[in-house]
Every structure is written in structure tokens, then in C-alpha cells.
């Protein structure tokens, strides 16, 4: 099973190995079954390439995450205003807050829509968010998990102070590992199939088997 590397995209096996493989391929009956040596059809190759690109592209926008504390900052700022205080009903209070923030325009509008809260939820996280603001913390680095406001589990770039950025990145080391993983896979499978006789050769199943 000697190797040759002069034309790697054609074959990686020397002539003698290919000859033996072709003879065995035609001669041997595996429980009456035979196999052809067809290549992957070109449209399917493109479909696989599209799949690999899509696998990265569709997972880039990190949607569906937990809400960050930042998206409720504007809500909490409105909670103690006289306009909200004078409303008696909680549902109406919340509706007023949402309407007011929407009218002013918020960069978190889509996320606020996706992670609705009621007044009870806001009361539970209010103190934590006010305390974090007092400490000049970046609220985008904190998740709201039920009643708790916790440091997000993202591992972003290192900041000048040596700590990790905890914001939702568009790329993280999971993707980097994937790039290498997929590349190694493609190389390994290419080597495996290029060790076979070239696909321009097809076995003649009638040479040794009849009927």
C-alpha cells in the first residue's frame, strides 16, 4: 500500500496498490453485493459546501440569548417617575413604561420585544441593576436569569484591565475550533477517498460474477 504524492488530487496510491484494489473490487462478492466507484455528484459537492458555510452563517447572530440587564435599564429608570407612580394597576404601569420607551426609541427595542417583563419582574431585578449602575458596570455584560442579575458567561476579548469582555460576540473560540475541526475532517476524508482508485475507473461487476 505505497503512497504517491505527485498528483494528490488524482490518487494517493501507487499504481501497484491501485491495481490490486481494482482487481479485488471486481473479484470479491460481499454477500452478493457490489459497489461502484462513483464520485460525489458535483451539485451535491456544492450542496455540502453550502451546508458548511450555512453552519457558520446561521449560528453567527447569537439570537435567543438570555436578556441582558441593559435592555431593562430604561424600564427601571421610569419605574419611580411620578407618571408611573400615579397609575394604580401594574399591567397599565408596564404598558405605559413600554410605550414610553418605544416612543423615545431604544437601541434595545427588538430585544425588549423578545424578552417582555411585568412589574413584578422589574421589582425583582431593580435593586441589582441600580447597584451595578452605581459601580459603573457595563450592563450589557450581565444576564437577567429569573430574579437574578448575573455576570454573563461569554468569554470575549481581554479588556485593557485584564478582565474578559462578557458581551455577546459575533465570533468566539467555539467557531475557531470549528474551523480547524471542519478543515481537518475535509483533509482526512480527502486522503481516505484519494487512496482509492480514481473515480474515472468503474468496476466491471460481470468480469468475475455472472447472473
Amino acid at each position: 500500500m505505497a503512497w504517491r504524492f505527485d498528483n494528490p488530487l488524482y490518487t494517493l496510491s501507487d499504481e501497484e496498490s491501485n491495481k490490486r484494489a481494482m482487481e479485488l473490487w471486481e473479484k470479491e462478492s460481499l454477500g452478493g453485493l457490489t459497489e461502484n466507484n462513483n464520485r460525489l455528484p458535483v451539485p451535491v459537492v456544492w450542496l455540502l459546501a453550502l451546508t458548511i458555510v450555512t453552519a457558520f452563517a446561521i449560528t453567527f447572530p447569537l439570537w435567543g440569548q438570555r436578556p441582558t440587564a441593559a435592555i431593562y435599564e430604561e424600564y427601571i429608570a421610569l419605574m419611580d417617575t411620578p407618571e408611573v407612580q400615579q397609575i394604580q394597576d401594574d399591567a397599565q404601569k408596564m404598558e405605559y413604561i413600554v410605550r414610553t420607551v418605544k416612543a423615545k426609541g431604544s437601541k434595545y427595542e427588538a430585544l425588549q420585544d423578545r424578552h417582555p417583563v411585568d412589574m413584578d419582574d422589574l421589582r425583582l431585578i431593580k435593586d441589582d441593576i441600580i447597584e451595578l449602575k452605581r459601580q459603573n458596570a457595563d450592563l450589557e455584560e450581565y444576564f437577567v436569569v429569573g430574579p437574578d442579575v448575573v455576570l454573563a458567561n461569554f468569554e470575549g476579548n481581554l479588556k485593557p484591565d485584564g478582565t474578559r469582555e462578557r458581551k455577546q460576540p459575533w465570533w468566539d473560540k467555539g467557531y475557531t475550533i470549528d474551523v480547524f475541526y471542519v478543515a481537518y475532517f475535509c483533509i482526512a476524508v480527502m486522503i481516505a477517498v484519494k487512496r482509492l482508485p480514481h473515480y474515472s475507473w468503474q468496476p466491471d461487476h460481470h468480469k468475475y460474477h455472472h447472473g
Binding site: 479485488l24 473490487w25 470479491e28 462478492s29 460481499l30 454477500g31 452478493g32 453485493l33 457490489t34 459497489e35 461502484n36 466507484n37 462513483n38 464520485r39 460525489l40 455528484p41 451535491v44 450542496l47 455540502l48 451546508t51 458548511i52 450555512t54 453552519a55 457558520f56 446561521i58 449560528t59 447572530p61 447569537l62 439570537w63 435567543g64 440569548q65 438570555r66 423578545r114 417582555p116 436569569v145 458567561n153 461569554f154 468569554e155 455577546q168 468566539d172 473560540k173 467555539g174 467557531y175 475550533i177 470549528d178 475541526y181 471542519v182 475532517f185 482526512a188 476524508v189 481516505a192 477517498v193 482509492l196 473515480y199 468496476p203 461487476h205
Partner: protein, 468 residues
């Protein structure tokens, strides 16, 4: 069966173990789907059978899941391995006696395990619900003897090459043993918290990905070329399929826990790998459909090909769903809803069941040298199973979308229950059709053994015309 347990290996007719596994699998399929129908009735009609905790949904659901996975699916796999592995190596099964003991101990262990689950003794981890003592039993008396018999048969083959199906069989029994031993570490070492959650889903994901999916596919690699007489379209694509299953199916376990506090980079990695599950699926489907070239009339004429190609075609929606539903963009919406239940049934009751049923139909006829008793009943089984499955899958997918919307928009829970009630009834109807179809199947196979037309020496079942 008992007379062969203590017989000499040479005195046991070839195929005996496969026949026992085949009939056992059908009986477990009836039990499993009967329990499924019962459970679905409890969800559709909340007042159905109340007052006993033994019949509570929480007890019965696990029994249903494990009867189907360990009874039907895995025993049908064992059946296929017992006759296909030696056939592809032009040899006999390494030990027919080990196979018969394997089947006997499998039935005993599974009955014991399901009884424990039924009485409420459970690890509480979905898909690895069995208590540790049953886990050990499964490893020692179910997985290992099967693996030894498959590996030894491959090693003792009379061919130089190994056909694609046997790569998957040999690797499948190896991978499931590792998955079982590692995946149950929370049970054996009292792991808790995130480690427990991750390993639970690592197990659940890989039982599907490294056992059920590849072994079911391996069966199709046998039945399609065997029955149509066509060569497998491509040995090269077989390589791509095999290695992409091993590489891309083994890694995305974290995508089951997209909302858990796992490292986000691990979820990113798993999510990309999750979409790449489409790579083996594309390789498998294209290879099998191209193998059918010029023989598509078999899809109408031949029962086993009808089952097999339906299973292959169901791999397309299965992997489209599986690949994309785990991305963050979609998972937040459908996670924890009936959509996932529908998807699990598409995998186990759709894709894999149709492939295994073909193997059991074909294997039993070939080994017993008896033509199927009634093609009409066979076709009736096919259509009832397909319609029952489709009713279940579609109704649960719709119910899942309703639940997803209700979850996101915080609709009061009771309103969701009311909205999905019609779909719960449809689910029960679908499940009951599946259960009924399997009773018909057992009758047909029982009659095949008793009164099927004898197949002359040197002929194969699909080469003979049906007499009924």
C-alpha cells in the same frame, strides 16, 4: 429458545439468534407503541385512568421510551446484525449460541428494567432513566455480547474487504458501548449540576447519533443493493458518510442545552457541528437514492424497498429539522415544546423504524425460507404505520409551534392547554394507528413462520411472486 440455550453451537441452525431477535423486536414494538398510545390517551383525555401512581404519566412515559429504544429499535438492530454481518463476510455468525443467550438475557434484563421504571425506580435522567444496576446489566449482558459477536464475525470473515454496512455495525457497537459507559457516569459517580446535565444530554444525543442513526443507515446500505440487485452507487460516498457521522454527530451534545449556563463558546462549537449533521445525511440520502437508479419500480412493487426508501426519504426532514432547530435563532422558540417530541418521533418512529422494519421483514423471510404470508397485510402495515406516524408528527409539530408562541408571548398556561387539545387527540389517534399496525405485522410474521410459502433453495424472497 430454551432448547438452544444449552445446545452445542454447531447444533444451532444458522440464523436462529436473528429469528429470536426479530420476533422479540416486533413484540417489544407492540408493547412500546401500546404504552405510547396509552400515554397519549392520558394527555388527550386527562380523566383517563387516574388514581394509581403506577399508571401516572410520569411512570409510564419512561417505560414507553425504553421499551421502544431498547426493545424495538435495538433488538431489530441486533437482529439485522445477526444475519447481515455474516452474510456480508460470506461466513456464519461467530457464535449462534452467544446470540441466543444475548437475546434471552436482553429480554430478561429489559423486562426487569422496565418493571423497575414502572414502579418508579429511576435515575430521573431522560433517556438514561434506568437505575445503575440495570445500566451495568445492559453493559455486561446486552451491549458487550452483541459487540463481541459482531466484531468476531467481521474478524472471521471470508472476504478481504469489509462492506460499508459492516463498518457501521462494527463501529456502532463500539460507539454505543463507550456512550453507555461514559454517559452513565452521573449515575455511577453521583455527578450533579451542570456535569450531570451535560453528560445526560451527551448520552441522549450520542445514543441517537452514534447508535440509532448509523446502524439504521447501515441496514439501508444492505437492503437496497441486495433487493434491487444494483451495485451501491458509491463506495467513496460511503467513506464520506461514515467519517462524517463519527466526526460531526459525536460533538454537538451541548446544543441540547442552549439555554443552560454552559460556556457560550461550547454552544457555538456545538451549534455549528449540529448543522453539519447535514453532511452525513446528504451523503447517505444521495448514495441510496442514486443506488435506486433504474429500479424505482421496486419502490411500488417491493415491500422491503417501500419501507427502506420511505425511511431514507424521512432522513431529509429529520436532518433539516435536527440541523436547524438547535441553532440559537430557532431553539429559543421551540425548546421544551411538542416540536421536540415530534422531532424525536420523526427520528425513531419515522426514519429508523422504517429502515429496521425492512430488515426484519427481509431477514425473517430469508432465514426461515418462507415467503411473507400476506403482501396485502404487509402493505396494510406499511400504510397504517405511515399514516399513524404522519398524523402524530404533524399534530405534535403544530402543537409545538403553539406552545412556542405561548411560551414567548407569555400566554396563560391553561389557554395553551386548551389550544393544543385537538392536536393531543390527533396524537393519540396517530399513535393508536401505529400500535394497531404492529399487531397486524406480528400476525403476518407469525403466519409467515407457520404457513408462508417455502422458498426454494438458491432463491431469495424478493425473487418470488406473492401467492396471496
Amino acid at each position: 429458545m430454551f432448547k438452544y440455550l444449552f445446545a452445542r453451537n454447531e447444533d444451532i441452525p444458522p440464523g436462529t439468534a436473528a429469528v429470536y431477535f426479530g420476533y422479540s423486536s416486533i413484540i417489544w414494538f407492540i408493547i412500546g407503541t401500546g404504552l405510547g398510545s396509552f400515554n397519549a390517551a392520558k394527555l388527550a383525555f386527562p380523566d383517563f385512568v387516574t388514581g394509581s401512581e403506577l399508571f401516572a404519566f410520569g411512570h409510564m412515559r419512561q417505560v414507553h421510551v425504553h421499551a421502544v429504544i431498547f426493545g424495538w429499535i435495538s433488538m431489530a438492530f441486533a437482529m439485522a446484525m445477526m444475519y447481515i454481518t455474516p452474510a456480508l463476510g460470506n461466513t456464519r455468525l461467530w457464535s449462534e449460541k452467544l446470540g441466543v443467550w444475548n437475546c434471552f438475557l436482553w429480554n430478561v434484563g429489559l423486562s426487569l428494567g422496565l418493571t423497575l421504571l414502572w414502579t418508579g425506580m429511576t435515575s430521573g435522567r431522560e433517556y438514561s432513566d434506568f437505575p445503575w444496576i440495570i445500566d451495568l446489566y445492559i453493559a455486561a449482558f446486552i451491549a458487550l455480547p452483541l459487540a463481541i459477536n459482531v466484531w468476531m464475525t467481521i474478524l472471521k470473515r471470508r472476504t478481504q474487504g469489509i462492506y460499508t454496512t459492516n463498518w457501521f455495525f462494527g463501529a456502532g457497537v463500539f460507539m454505543v458501548t463507550i456512550v453507555f459507559l461514559v454517559g452513565n457516569t452521573p449515575e455511577w459517580f453521583q455527578l450533579t449540576g451542570l456535569s450531570e446535565a451535560y453528560l445526560t444530554w451527551w448520552f441522549a444525543h450520542n445514543v441517537l447519533g452514534l447508535w440509532i442513526t448509523p446502524v439504521a443507515a447501515a441496514i439501508a446500505y444492505y437492503t437496497v443493493p441486495k433487493i434491487t440487485g444494483n451495485p451501491l452507487y458509491s463506495h467513496r460516498i460511503g467513506h464520506l458518510h461514515f467519517w462524517s457521522v463519527v466526526v460531526f454527530y459525536s460533538t454537538p451534545a451541548a446544543h441540547h442545552l442552549m439555554s443552560a449556563p454552559l460556556p457560550e463558546w461550547l454552544k457555538s462549537f456545538a451549534s455549528v457541528e449540529g448543522v453539519l449533521i447535514l453532511v452525513p445525511a446528504i451523503a447517505f440520502v444521495s448514495n441510496l437514492l442514486l443506488t435506486m437508479t433504474g429500479k424505482w419500480h421496486y419502490f411500488v412493487d417491493n415491500l422491503e424497498i417501500k419501507f427502506t426508501i420511505t425511511g431514507v426519504l424521512l432522513a431529509i426532514p429529520l436532518n433539516m429539522q435536527g440541523g436547524f432547530q438547535q441553532t440559537r435563532a430557532i431553539n429559543w422558540y421551540i425548546h421544551g415544546t411538542g416540536w421536540i417530541v415530534a422531532h424525536a418521533h420523526l427520528a425513531l418512529l419515522g426514519f429508523s423504524t422504517f429502515l429496521e422494519a425492512a430488515a426484519v421483514y427481509y431477514g425473517l423471510q430469508t432465514i426461515m425460507r418462507r415467503k411473507l404470508y400476506s403482501l396485502t397485510l404487509g402493505n396494510f402495515h406499511f400504510w397504517l404505520l405511515l399514516i399513524g406516524f404522519a398524523t402524530y408528527w404533524i399534530s405534535m409539530t403544530i402543537a409545538g409551534l403553539i406552545q412556542g408562541a405561548a411560551k414567548i408571548y407569555e400566554v396563560p398556561y391553561i389557554d395553551t392547554v386548551i389550544a393544543e387539545h385537538p392536536y393531543m387527540i390527533a396524537r393519540w389517534v396517530g399513535g393508536t394507528l401505529v400500535f394497531t399496525s404492529n399487531i397486524v405485522w406480528l400476525y403476518n410474521m407469525w403466519m409467515t413462520a407457520r404457513a408462508g410459502t417455502e422458498i426454494p433453495a438458491g432463491r431469495l424472497p424478493h425473487e418470488l411472486a406473492y401467492e396471496r
